[in-house]
Amino acid sequence: MSVAYPIPHVSKQTIKNTSALLKFTILGVISAAAIASRLFAVVRHESIIHEFRATKVLAKDGFYEFWNWFDPTAWYPLGRVVGGTVYPGLMVTSGIIYNVLHWLNFPVDIRNVCVMLAPAFAGLTAIATYLFTCEMADESTGLLAAAFMGIVPGYISRSVAGSYDNEAIAIFLLMYTFYLWIRAVKEGSAFWGMLAAVFYGWMVAAWGGYVFITNMIPLHAFVLVLMGRFSHKIYISYSSWYVIGTLASMQVPFVGFLPVRTSEHMAALGVFGLLQLVAFVETVRKLVPGKQFQLLLRAFVIAAFAIALAVLVALTSSGFIAPWTGRFYSLWDTGYAKIHIPIIASVSEHQPTAWPSFFFDLEMLIFLFPAGVYLCFKELRDEHVFIIIYAVLSSYFAGVMVRLMLVITPVVCVTAAMAFSKLLTTYMDPTVPEIDDDAAPVTGDLAVEVEATANKAKGKKPASVDKKVGVVASLKRGIYSLDTRLVVITPLVGALIMFVYHCTWVTSNAYSSPSVVLASRGADGSQHIIDDFREAYYWLRQNTKQDAVVMSWWDYGYQIAGMADRPTLVDNNTWNNTHIATVGKAMSSNEAVAYPILRKHDVDYILVIFGGLLGYSGDDINKFLWMVRISQGVWPEEIQESNYFTNRGEYKVDAQASQTMKDSLMYKMSYYRFAELFGGGQAMDRVRNQVIPNTPIQLDTIEEAFTSENWIVRIYQVKKEDDLGRDLPAVSAFEAGQRLKKSKSAKTTNKKR
């Protein structure tokens, strides 16, 4: 017979109904799994969320209050106009959900909405991936892609419960916009183009990474034109997307007129113009025959394109159109950020990606990815061109920046699903080729039966005329025996199971502890929870005045604001470089220089993170050089990086550390009384594996206020000026019982006598 294994006879209608039900159920289960796997963090710890004060304002006081909200406690003493300096999409989305739920009389807390937003949108992303993949290949591939997308660690990393971040909703919007765009190109309908534009507008409101879409879609249209595939479908869909999408994006105050005034958006405008020209030429060509005239037209298009380009260059060089902003420019010129924008280069997410990270986040998908891209090349319909461009661009971006792993993940899931599904269907298809060179050809008229079984296997509608041809052609190729089918399918199923294990393991180990709670593992496998951050933030909340200003490095700004509810100098919204540099200067200068800065900024408490006791490597001493570099960028005469190295150019904190290093406020605050812990033994810093000298560190202008259990967070209180008008160093010398030197205070007391 021509089937490798028997297939039960089921009517076509039953197959259709069952597959519809199965599809629906599977998609539902995938979404549920996507949500469930993101709840590790909440289940294991509690729901911890840092910064959602803006959303609270939105939920409590309404949209206009949020729009005009001035936050006086952030960026003290400057404050920050929140509405105009954030991408409001995230807050507005959760605000809408909150209001809808309340309108339906579900009394949820806005906090829970924020915590659960990312998992909920991850479920939606799985569905969007399904829809997107269905446009590229068949529905079973779509389900596989959705399953991959639901649990792949590369996406979980930014969407666990409690990570209330722009990326939480942005990836859904990205995938859905792409889906709508592909629909629009396929249908050539202004309606789908408009829908794509609406979702693009939402994306612009939600994440700075919208620029990726802004350039992906024009590039797709441009490549299609270059390939000679220009059609009115492309013209209609692109024009409707561009016009409505640009207008929508300009409604976001933070974006404003950028879409017409910066280079990042010029590709979209240029392609828009090009499409108008090409459409014009195509129309004229249809109406006016004649070779010379067509030549003229072609010359006209090229000339118009060249002139437009020249105008663009002129406008850019005259400054009307801003050149590429540093953030995006640094993606192309990878050395740029380190020299010119240290604040961007300092973020660990902005480092390049080593290969283990790719494998860690994508496991087997990473090598199925090129195989899927090959399959796209084989078919090369308009939508496959899109996938190919997306794949090449995003693999470059993901290689340059760890953070952009997020952008490559969807396309990897889609293409890997294509390759995997192709392999599975090839080896699960029960039809056996008719002709076998090794055996006598099968006789008899099997065409009808074979056709029926082939249709059943694919679970599809009865074959059309085209399909019949396909089935007949496919009879010539296929797999002959059952055992070889099993040989291939068994390891594939094994690989799928291993993928699930890998995802679970990565998610639970790497991405499920909130950044403020550290989990470590003892030698016997027992788990220790290190909760110093929350301990310290609650101490601040309960033991300091409501308006006490806390200075820390910007990484901890949102946490202090959210969990300790105290004003901060700088926070994770790094909009003011000078202010950050000021904090860096205070941290890296000696007490005499730092004290006036602290007093001028009304700083009451300084918070430093110190991992030397526990071996927590993400501490402030390791970030210290970036503080130095950033403040050097603003005060090159006063702060010099080279001073913080030993004479041999090493970054050391032990006895050989340079004097500037030892005098810096950061060094003193980190190691103050550290050596005493070891009772005369060697005070070993476990992060840097260096011995801290035993000489006691003297603090004159600040005093220790709080140190957490494992010394990770240390809080110092800034002393006020002395009541008697003495210098603070003189005060501490006096209290230590030392004789007064001939200092200013000594002279004044003499005079008074």
Binding site: T353, A354, W355, V487, V488, R521, N643
Partner: protein, 330 residues
């Protein structure tokens, strides 16, 4: 014989040093073409700690010194030293273009290992080149708020003239610029190259057009690009990773890698993708069931084996990975 002369020089030195002062180094700098003073051990000590008081009366140096401790002779086999030498000379020449009164506030000097073993020993230097910058210790150019002696970090700033210049200028007593002579080549050669390229493009259009419109060309280009990028090539570029180390081709640590390592990984990805494609695209077309069985067994074996090699490699990079030991739930 040679050794004896060295001793003689050392003995003679204190007497000589008494007479020496800044003007001696000014002389030496003026006489050399780039303004570079070639030192030996004795001169090195002398230029850093002159015995003669400055005009103000304070003891110390009222000038800055940028000195390279290098090993230029061929038998020392120090490639970076020879790379750095012309760059340092060019930088010294930039400084020499300053007017005389400013120029004498900083000296550029070179101490070769063959002339200054004593200094190398004293400083415990195992590697070369080393660039030290010694600021003035007295006088108007003494810096107020930084260390008097700083070392150039080659791993950070690298061997480029611009970086070296920026580093020295940030420390130097006077601002100065890189001297760029008028270079006619871009204005002549560049248009010629552009014209040539356009002409070649037009002439070879009919031959190149099939290439640029061929699906295979773009397919291969895209897939190679994807393999190169996803195996960590950009990391190598940005961090300038070494090709391999004597200990092996795998770099220790999760976020660290060697070039060879990424090439191996990229090759593995490529082979794995190829075996997937062969299984799904080529194997079904085999017209003989026996041959097909052989092909399936072979390529499934390749797929499973290479995948396990890849996982093994990843385990080496990420120690302590074990799926079957999930963390204890609380």
């Amino acid at each position: 014989m040679h050794f004896g002369r060295c001793i003689a020089a050392l003995v003679a030195l204190p007497l000589f040093a008494q007479a020496a002062n800044k003007s001696k180094f000014v002389d030496l700098a003026d006489r050399s073409k780039d303004g570079i003073i070639v030192l030996n051990s004795a001169l090195y000590e002398e230029i850093l700690a002159p015995d003669v008081a400055t005009p103000d009366g304070a003891k110390g140096r009222d000038y800055a010194v940028a000195v390279v401790l290098t090993a230029l002779p061929a038998q020392m086999n120090c490639a970076p030293c020879r790379t750095f030498d012309p760059i340092f000379h060019a930088e010294a020449a930039n400084w020499k273009r300053l007017p005389k009164d400013q120029r004498d506030d900083m000296f550029f000097a070179v101490l070769d290992f063959s002339d200054g073993q004593a200094v190398f020993q004293k400083l415990g230097l195992q590697t070369a080149p080393n660039l030290q910058f010694h600021s003035a210790t007295v006088g108007p150019h003494k810096p107020s708020n930084r260390q008097l002696s700083v070392n150039y970090d080659f791993s950070k700033h690298g061997f480029e003239l611009v970086n070296l210049h920026n580093w020295i200028r940030s420390l130097a007593p006077h601002a100065y610029e890189i001297y760029k002579p008028f270079n006619p080549i871009p204005y002549v050669v560049a248009p010629m190259v552009i014209a040539f390229t356009i002409a070649m493009g037009l002439l070879s259009y009919q031959y190149l057009a099939p290439l640029f419109t061929s699906r295979a060309f773009w397919g291969i280009a895209s897939i190679v690009a994807i393999l190169v990028f996803t195996s960590g090539h950009m990391w190598n570029r940005i961090r300038s990773a070494p090709y391999a180390s004597p200990q092996g081709f795998i770099a220790p640590g999760f976020s660290n890698q060697f070039v060879l390592e990424t090439q191996v990984v990229g090759g593995l990805y490529g082979l794995l993708a190829a075996s997937v494609l062969i299984l799904s695209e080529l194997v079904p077309s085999i017209k003989s069931s026996a041959k097909q069985r052989m092909a399936i067994l072979l390529w499934t074996g390749v797929l499973v084996f290479l995948f396990s090699v890849l996982v093994r490699l990843f385990k080496v990079k990420n120690g302590g990975m074990s799926y079957l030991n999930p963390p204890t739930a609380l």
